[in-house]
């Protein structure tokens, strides 16, 4: 009973270790899922870098990208698979009769957006070149929009109102799945032709971004260089001055993510180390008590020939076993917790983590048991035999 109470520290430590690592692996999975929609061979030419380490004020006075710049780039760039200018806005009013959607992202773009974003349609078709050029009032909608506005009917060729402007639904996107921690779902998109977007939502309010699918991850760096050079010419950046635009890619997200998770993991390690430390002190305490209580036993063992190291090992192994037991209990507790986490993040408890946890608990036992075991092994047989 007393041992179980003492192992509580170890149990908590192991629960912390395993759930932390399970959660972190889950976060990573979820994150990769949600950024995979960006495409690893796609470059995004934007006014700002997505993750700026420097002060934002340095970018504030940059001029927006323009459609003319997009067209020039399109003409001059040698090798690419698809290129789409995009504008986007959140939270505009989207209605169908008396139903409305609150969380939506409206994107204005061209027919090539389907390829740069690797979108798959469930029904209907994507917007075509004619509709883009003529600024037709057509749109593609995601699954969440379908769910909200068309709970019972097929949305194809039906009308929805974006900012009170009627639009015909020509296509429905396949379900994309929840994004990072469910913050924004890719299923809440509405895609319009760029000019339609501008006429409905205003021309200058939303900045232009150029999405370029290179088609080959290995050529990404070359493409990046070429685009930089071209954009400097197009935007007339004098030599020696910094770029007044940025080329972003999925990689930037990953770096950002790794930093964030690094911080979380670091905090996790600190918490875990702390609880294991408390646990270790508990084990050390109980081992000292145990050594004192069993002084006579140690005396007997020594009298009949136990060497110093056999006593040392006996107590070390005992401490390690207590901790291993704690570790196993910790894993038994954190397994259901990992199942709960699995409801939010795509994860399960990884086997290496289980072994790591058991290894750590044995290690804690050996470290915390060493001093008491050492004391036991040094006991004088004459005195310990006399001990009552």
């Amino acid at each position: 009973m007393r041992s179980i109470l003492t192992t509580l520290g170890i149990i908590i430590g192991i629960v912390a270790v395993t759930t932390m690592s399970t959660a972190i692996i889950g976060l990573r999975e979820a994150f990769l899922n949600s950024i995979s929609s960006l495409g690893s061979d796609v470059l995004y030419v934007d006014k700002f870098p997505w993750f700026a380490m420097r002060d934002w004020s340095a970018f504030r006075n940059r001029k927006d990208l323009t459609i003319e710049q997009y067209e020039k780039l399109r003409e001059m760039l040698s090798n690419y698979e698809a290129m789409a200018p995009t504008k986007r806005t959140f939270g505009s009013s989207v209605k169908r009769k008396d139903r409305s959607v609150t969380m939506s992202m409206i994107i204005g773009t061209t027919e090539e957006y389907q390829r740069t974003s690797q979108l798959v349609l469930e029904e209907g078709r994507f917007i075509n070149e004619i509709e883009v050029n003529a600024a037709r009032k057509v749109c593609i909608i995601g699954q969440d929009i379908v769910k909200e506005l068309f709970p019972l009917e097929n949305p194809i060729n039906k009308e929805i109102k974006v900012n009170n402007m009627p639009m015909k639904v020509v296509g429905v996107l396949e379900k994309q799945g929840s994004g990072f921690l469910g913050s924004f779902s890719m299923d809440g998109q509405i895609i319009l032709p760029l000019k339609t977007f501008e006429s409905v939502l205003g021309e200058s309010r939303n900045r232009l971004r150029i999405d370029i699918k290179i088609g080959d991850v290995d050529k990404l760096d070359d493409a990046k260089e070429e685009i930089t050079a071209l954009m400097r010419i197009i935007r007339k950046v004098p030599p020696g001055k910094d770029d007044d635009f940025a080329i972003n890619q999925q990689e930037a997200f990953k770096q950002m993510y790794d930093q964030t998770v690094g911080v979380i993991a670091y905090a996790g390690i600190v918490i875990t180390a702390l609880s294991l430390f408390v646990g270790a002190i508990g084990i050390m305490n109980i081992m000292f008590v145990s050594v004192t209580e069993r002084t006579k036993e140690i005396g007997i063992r020594k009298a009949i020939g136990a060497k110093t190291w056999s006593i040392l090992f006996q107590f070390l192994i005992e401490a390690a076993m207590i901790c291993l037991l704690g570790g196993i209990m910790g894993i038994l507790i954190s397994y259901p917790i990992s199942l709960i986490i699995n409801q939010f993040l795509p994860t399960s408890m990884p086997i290496p983590v289980v072994f790591l946890a058991l290894f750590i608990s044995i290690l804690v036992g050996l470290i915390s048991g060493f001093l008491p075991a050492w004391r036991a092994s040094r006991l004088n047989p004459v005195d310990s035999l006399r001990y009552e």
Binding site: G299, R301, I304, A306, L385
Partner: protein, 240 residues
């Protein structure tokens, strides 16, 4: 043949600023096969002498040769090895491991000697049979009577076939009848050629031995042969 040969040994304890001479100057030889009783009132130094003879402790001065090897300067592990192989202890309070059964208690010295599990079990069983506890092997100490516990302890002392058996007041915690039984067992073991050193302060217990050494104030007061070697054994205990 000498098993034990001690010359001018002394044990001095420092108690506060005072030096206590538990043993002042003791010289002693014990031959193989002897059955010796060490007697003396409390404070005479007999416990200290027993600890030194049993290699549980080392003398402050003097030389202790055990089977021709000097043990006075040995370190803890070397002493442990001597205790394990050469000395069998029987204590007044039995000193069995309370949570282990009789068999495991008897096996214990063999574990420390590095004997294989199978051989250990065989030898422990044989030793328990030897002391008449064949049917008590799986009993824990608290399920055994005092006499039976002491028999387990004697089996444990015998199991390594040691050069000497050191018994410290082996009947001190037993009633007279059981004590007599244990003493008969010692006689039997002695009759089989074992060397026994018995520490006691009871005259009638010491009388079982062939030789009685009397201590007083850390010195040998008297050392005499009281019985011829292989004297007739009473109580019909010679069933060897």
């Amino acid at each position: 043949m000498n098993i034990i040969n001690i010359e001018h040994i002394a044990k001095i304890y420092q108690v506060g600023s005072e030096e206590v001479h538990a043993l002042a100057d003791v010289s002693l030889r014990i031959d193989k096969g002897e059955y010796v009783a060490i007697m003396g009132p409390s404070g005479s130094g007999k416990s200290t002498l027993m600890n030194i003879l049993g290699c549980l402790d080392t003398p402050t001065k003097g030389v202790y040769n055990f089977k021709g090897t000097s043990v006075s300067q040995m370190n803890d592990n070397e002493l442990a090895s001597i205790r394990n192989k050469e000395i069998g202890f029987v204590f007044q309070t039995f000193n069995l491991l309370p949570r282990s059964d009789a068999l495991h208690n008897v096996e214990l010295p063999l574990i420390y000697a590095g004997v294989s599990s199978f051989e250990r079990k065989e030898r422990a069983r044989a030793a328990l049979e030897h002391v008449g506890l064949a049917d008590r092997m799986t009993h824990k100490p608290n399920e055994l009577s005092g006499g039976q516990r002491q028999r387990v302890a004697i089996a444990r002392a015998l199991v390594t076939s040691p050069s000497i058996i050191l018994a410290d007041e082996p009947t001190g915690n037993l009633d007279t009848k059981t004590g007599e039984d244990i003493m008969s067992l010692f006689l039997e073991i002695s009759g089989q050629g074992n060397t026994i050193i018995l520490v006691t302060h009871e005259e009638y217990i010491a009388e079982h031995a062939e030789r009685i050494i009397r201590l007083r104030d850390g010195l040998i007061e008297n050392d005499e042969i009281v019985k011829e070697r292989f004297a007739p054994i009473k109580n019909g205990a010679s069933k060897m």
